[in-house]
């Protein structure tokens, strides 16, 4: 999992309102939570692939560590959800969480 990386998807527009935002992916609009919005802020438009570990660190810095899961697993869950909707591109990560 150490090679896992992520970048911002091909977003047509991002409209921020407070700590949340709406993004346009193809012809669909997705409303993002403050946590998902923070992920997007860590992945600027046009920036190259970033290690997932950087996003984990950025979210922990902003929101603190999650109480009920590892920061890495929690971040991957968010990134997978965003990848399904085309908000981010995810590479080097299995599509579904590995069964325990």
């Amino acid at each position: 999992m150490s090679g896992a990386r992520v970048r911002r998807g091909d977003l047509l527009d991002v409209y921020a309102d407070g700590d949340a935002c709406a993004v346009m992916v193809a012809s669909t609009v997705v409303v993002l939570s403050p946590l998902a919005t923070a992920v997007l802020e860590l992945l600027p438009a046009g920036a190259p692939w970033a290690p997932v570990s950087e996003v984990v660190a950025g979210l922990v810095e902003r929101f603190g560590a999650p109480g009920d899961a590892s920061p890495h697993d929690a971040t991957l869950g968010v990134l997978r959800d965003l990848a399904v909707q085309g908000v981010v591109d995810l590479d080097g990560v299995t599509a579904e969480p590995t069964p325990a």
Binding site: L12, D13, Y15, D17, A22, M24, S27, T28, V29, V31
Partner: protein, 270 residues
Amino acid sequence: MSAAADALVLHGLGAAQPLRVTGSGADAALPAVLRAWDRCLHPAATAPVVELEPLEVLLGSDDEVAAARARGAVAGTDLAGLMHDLSPAVTLRLLEARAGQLVLLHAAALADPTTRRTAVLVAPSGTGKTTLSRTLGRRLGYVTDETAGVDVDGVLAAYPKPLSVIPRPGEPVKDQVSASELGLGVAPDRPTLAVVVFLERADDGPEEPEVVVEPTLTALASLAGQTSYLTRVPRPLHRVADLLEATGGLRRVRYRESASLEPLLAGWLA
């Protein structure tokens, strides 16, 4: 083929669509088109005009229709069917002409003829836009029952197309009836966006309409599915958000009968 047929131009959404009415049935088709589309025969006073390539409209025999369709015409062997097919064909061409320039919402739009303040009433196809236009358009100016095109200044490019009316219950082909024939008011010049409403009509909806102002972020998601060519508009979410912010946000209205909306619109458009 008369000279008048060649001169026929339909105006809507700030674009002009010339029609060439042809075929052995042209003498019947031409007056029907002129009557149904009478509100679209003149350009809006101040709207910019995009001129489209002529569209052939043919009424004739099976052989004529087959040949005409092969060359891209809207064609039919019966007048009602031809008129039914013409409306979406013209709409599609007008939409494509203004794609990227206007925010194009699947909506009816009605304007106060004095204030020019205009309500854009967004609703998916088949959920009451035409009924609403027929009911409320007798006291207001009929801007469209199909697509509201809004420019960057919040001014609408009118598209007062014929309304699709079911002649008898169960009839598969709707009649295309002019707004004039239905007694609807004439749209003022430069109708100006005053309110954007998302309609939710239900048989068990409230007798008194219920209005909720939707937050901008979720409003963007609600409206995106009721637009055409939004991806071609520069910074599309900002453009729609600006329209919503300028008009007090998207109003989501639950209602049962279209007539019950009249006082609401009167208040918003005064």
